[in-house]
């Protein structure tokens, strides 16, 4: 089954399309309705073709998987050679209480997780990670994403090094938790995002109107206009015209000083012929759009310096994203306005239907023209839908570059900075690192052992903040406790980040995300 797309209407016979539209969507679309409103059919397709490996069948691991199976990933494997202990049976919802004790943990978890969604394939694997790393490491690279919960430091280091070897290898999510404290980290080389769902709207380019818009705005004759029509001129048109007139009397400059801005707004309101013309009130409120020149946003122009699009790095086999980015750079240099391609999405505004639809059409036609111009700078063949999406979301593009797991702990300079800027977050991270290291060596986690371990990471002579004692105290209180609430909390957090990584929509967290469920807060360190 595929998600019903309602987009390709124009291609179809209108009659047929109208009837098809009015029948209820298929059951799969209805099942996924509440999430399709967040990531649409493209995000759903990415989820459905993903393969996720989760190492260990702990309560945390099954809590994560629950939140990935429900929205419909393609496949998951649980790698776990343990059998269910009485303690497991008490804290894992995806085991059947005491009935599961003694049975293979991966089998029980896969069976009960699979009940959540028949569209998802689940597999239990009873090998150990050690044996796979020795005999079949390439098997690990066949997944989209690997999630590892509470692995010992030594084996985790081997896994992370293997996956760091090649930038095409899967991302690794490292999760650690004990009692009320936890952290997670996503190891990835590079993550590019087109649909970041940025909350800033793209520019309407009122200060640099395209010819058809300028012509339309200047052609209106306010004086002879019917009063109803006058009260429904869209604010975009009002502002384009007011600003053109302003520029003519101000040597081509935009209103700059506070006085000038005030004067400009006054001028807009003075255009009213009746006091209740809300469109002019709206124009005044939107006047700020006339006060700064539309340019390529700095977050985007920074991307133009990215090494991946330098002439020597960009090759035919580079990812479509970088071909698109390179074309975007060229477009902003070559286009007259030196801006990003125009948006075709017009916000709602006070207006009558005719004026609004006319304005919307002008934007659509121009956006299509600029898209064509943009496409002419592409040096590789890229799918048309991807071009559309890229142009539409150009103001929110993201290129994230990550670090290897553990690199932060070895970076004395970064640690010193974090000690000053985020001591609370850093102390949770280091306490958990220390616990893992101590466990790895088979030493009993005492306050002294953990304190020494943290000191060794930050360096002799560096005084740790008071929070350290609180955190290691908690770890010593409950050194192996996997609390059901923490497992569920992490289950949500990790699944959310996994969905962002897989769909390449929204922006995943960078660095170590730490969680304190005593005072109930989260933070980020080592980004």
């Amino acid at each position: 089954m595929t998600i019903t797309a309602t987009r390709s209407l124009e291609a179809q016979d209108i009659e047929g399309a109208t009837t098809a539209l009015q029948s209820q969507p298929d059951s799969k679309t209805r099942r996924y309705d509440r999430q399709l409103r967040l990531w649409a059919a493209t995000g759903q397709a990415a989820l459905e073709s993903s393969r996720v490996l989760v190492i260990s069948g702990s309560a945390t691991s099954t809590a994560i998987l629950k939140n990935l199976v429900l929205p419909g990933i393609g496949h998951f494997t649980i790698l776990d050679h343990e059998s269910v202990s009485p303690a497991d049976a008490g804290n894992n919802f995806f085991l059947e209480g005491f009935k599961s004790i003694g049975k293979p943990r991966a089998d029980e978890a896969v069976r009960l997780l699979s009940e959540l969604n028949e569209g998802v394939e689940g597999k239990a694997d009873h090998r150990t990670l050690e044996s796979i790393l020795e005999s079949e490491p390439q098997w690990l690279t066949s997944f989209t994403l690997i999630i590892a919960h509470n692995l010992h430091s030594s084996i985790l280091a081997r896994l992370s090094s293997l996956l760091w070897k090649d930038h095409t290898y899967p991302a690794l999510m490292v999760v650690r938790s004990t009692g009320f404290l936890a952290e997670f980290f996503i190891q990835f080389h590079e993550h590019t995002i087109i649909e970041s769902h940025s909350e800033t709207a793209p520019s309407l380019r009122i200060d640099k109107p395209f010819p058809a818009l300028k012509e339309h705005a200047l052609s209106l004759d306010y004086a002879t206009m019917d009063p109803t029509e006058h009260g429904h001129i869209p604010y975009v048109v009002i502002l384009v015209r007011a600003l053109e007139e302003w520029k003519q009397s101000h040597e081509g400059n935009l209103p700059k000083t506070y006085e000038e801005k005030k004067q400009f707004k006054k001028g807009v309101l003075a255009l009213k012929v009746k006091s209740d013309e809300e469109n002019f009130d709206e124009a005044e409120a939107q006047s700020y759009r006339c006060f700064t020149e539309t340019k390529v946003p700095s977050e985007i122009s920074t991307l133009f310096d990215d090494s991946a699009i330098s002439p020597e790095s960009l090759r035919q086999d580079s990812s479509p994203f970088f071909h698109l980015l390179s074309a975007l750079k060229e477009f902003t240099i070559q286009s007259e306005s030196h801006t990003l391609p125009l948006t075709s999405t017009l916000p709602d505004m006070k207006s009558d239907t005719k004026s609004y639809i006319h304005l919307q059409r002008l934007y659509k036609i121009r956006a299509e023209e600029e898209k064509q111009a943009f496409t002419s700078y592409l040096r590789a063949s890229v799918d048309d839908e991807l071009i559309d999406s890229f142009v539409k979301n150009a103001h929110g593009l993201q290129v994230l570059r990550g670090r290897q797991w553990g690199a932060f702990d070895a970076d004395k300079e970064a640690l010193a900075t974090a000690l000053l800027t985020s001591p609370k977050e850093l102390m949770i991270h280091l306490s958990l690192s220390a616990l893992s290291a101590v466990n790895s060596r088979g030493v009993k986690p005492t306050l002294e052992a953990l304190r020494e371990e943290v000191q060794a990471i930050i360096g002799e002579g560096v005084v740790p903040p008071d929070e350290l004692e609180h955190n290691i105290g908690e770890l010593v209180r409950a050194p192996t406790a996997e609390l059901p609430n923490m497992a569920a909390f992490l289950g949500g957090m990790i699944a959310q980040e996994a969905i962002k990584m897989i769909t390449k929509q929204y922006i995943p967290v960078k660095g170590y995300c730490v969680i304190d469920l005593i005072e109930t807060w989260t933070g980020v360190v080592g980004a």
């Binding site: 309602t6 109208t18 009015q22 029948s23 209820q24 969507p25 059951s27 209805r30 099942r31 309705d33 509440r34 999430q35 399709l36 409103r37 967040l38 309560a59 939140n67 429900l70 009485p86 303690a87 049976a89 008490g90 919802f93 059947e96 209480g97 005491f98 004790i101 009940e115 009692g179 909350e199 207006s351 009558d352 239907t353 609004y356 639809i357 004692e469 105290g473 209180r477 409950a478 406790a481 609390l483 059901p484 609430n485 497992a487 569920a488 909390f489 289950g491 949500g492 957090m493 959310q496 969905i499 929204y506 967290v509 995300c513 005593i518 005072e519 109930t520 807060w521 933070g523 980020v524």
Partner: protein, 433 residues
């Protein structure tokens, strides 16, 4: 392995097997560096949690399913759940206690049964119905209340009810209320100690204003597909179907709205009317995913666990999370609002023009972000000003709508505002400008 399942009499037991609470007991057996001194580590706290604590969960939907599972695993054994809804196919992407075959059945009953089957020894008592069906005696039996609701009205009702329950002479009457909510990748969890800390009503102005389209836009100048859909549901449905109520869960009704809205959109050359948008607009659909619900529900249950056991400090008092751009969260103390109509106990002072009619005042009360009362009735200590119901009283007081408030209420006079949806009355002190 078998010996762990045999109790001292030599019989096999299905609940509280040895090490069942291995994980949670690490927290309950000893204090941590930040634990309150009143914490009684060991058997006493475990006995209270597992044998005496009674907890109420309101809502068995996206948050409710998660809350029930977490509470059961944490060791709460006497759990009650209320929900008035039945299961819909669109719930299955997150409400993980329900299956395809459960569609149409009551959520509270199915969820309770599932948790009891999965977690041995836990008693979950469902009530399929409205929270308003229950009286004070019912709510007084619980130690804690957790809400996983999607309705502002229901939250205001339970909040006001629990505030009214507080009897200063009886500490047992103070029931901590833990409230969670989500929308897409965003959510929040908070702890409310009725009359002590900020209550739900205190933070009413933090809610987003619902999108409302002016009726003249819908009728005369549609520009967006949403305007066409509103036209179909608000104007055309009652015109064509008379008194027949629009059921936003009935696919035939949605299909009818879609065809009417599509025709109007075509007439005005507006693009983008789809089934999904139509349903979204008329049902006010909020995007919802399993992961956000899991985070918020876990946070609520964690607070319930900490409050029930005193094993660690609890949230003071508001945690909000935004997961769209990285992981951003903010934990802060929401302050009590002065003159909160529920927990403030004082009158709200408002200053209006002498020219305002009663109708204008009612409009203001409906629109204000702090007040948000639907269909309010108004009276002074001496006489009724306007009553929404019963019909005879409405008719008798209707002429007052056009009168000036200043003709009916002296400067500095008191007006009592009531609404059938709220279990409290709001007292206004009116002054004139």
């Amino acid at each position: 392995m078998a010996d762990t399942l045999v109790d001292s009499n030599g019989t096999v037991t299905s609940s509280d097997w040895k090490d069942r609470f291995y994980h949670v007991d690490q927290i309950l057996d000893r204090p941590g560096p930040r634990t309150d001194p009143s914490f009684l580590a060991g058997d006493e706290v475990k006995d209270f949690l597992r044998n005496n604590c009674k907890i109420l969960v309101i809502g068995a939907g996206g948050l409710g399913c998660e809350i029930l599972a977490n509470l059961a695993l944490t060791g709460f054994k006497d759990i009650h759940v209320i929900d008035m809804d039945t299961i819909d196919i669109s719930n299955l992407n997150r409400q993980f206690l329900f299956r395809q075959a459960d569609v149409g059945k009551p959520k509270a009953i199915v969820a309770a049964q599932f948790v009891m089957n999965r977690v041995p020894g836990v008693k979950v008592t469902p009530y399929y119905g409205r929270i308003q069906d229950k009286d004070d005696a019912y709510y007084l039996q619980f130690n804690l209340v957790i809400c996983g609701l999607d309705s502002v009205e229901a939250r205001r009702w339970i909040n006001a009810t629990l505030v009214n329950l507080v009897d200063p002479e009886n500490p047992e009457s103070l029931k901590p209320l833990i409230d969670g909510g989500t929308e897409g990748f965003k959510g929040q969890a908070r702890v409310i100690l009725p009359t002590v800390s900020s209550c739900y009503e205190c933070s009413l102005d933090m809610l987003n204003k619902p999108t409302a389209f002016p009726i003249c836009t819908i009728a005369n100048t549609p520009r967006l597909p949403e305007h066409c859909i509103e036209w179909a549901s608000v104007l055309e449905w009652p015109r064509v179907h008379g008194d027949k109520k629009l059921d936003t869960d009935d696919p035939e009704h949605i299909g009818w709205l879609l065809s009417v809205a599509s025709a109007r959109a075509k007439e005005f050359k507006i693009e983008g009317v789809t089934w999904s948008l139509t349903q979204g607009v008329v049902k006010n659909v909020i995007p919802a995913i399993a992961s956000t619900n899991a985070i918020v529900a876990a946070s609520c249950c964690n607070e319930a666990f900490k409050i029930a056991t005193s094993s660690a400090a609890y949230l003071n008092n508001y945690f909000m999370l935004i997961g769209t751009d990285g992981v951003y969260s903010y934990t802060f103390e929401h302050e009590k609002r002065d003159h909160c109509p529920v927990c403030g106990g004082e009158s709200l002072e408002i200053s209006i023009s002498r020219e305002w009619t009663v109708e204008r005042l009612i409009e203001m009360l409906t629109e204000s972000q702090n007040i948000q009362i639907k269909r309010p009735s108004l009276s002074t200590p001496l006489k009724s000003i306007y009553f929404q119901s019963p019909p005879q009283l409405e008719e008798a007081t209707r002429p007052n709508l056009e009168k000036k408030v200043s003709e009916l209420v002296p400067d500095g006079g008191e007006v009592t505002v009531t609404a059938s949806t709220l279990p409290f009355s709001l007292s206004l002190l009116i002054t004139y400008t």
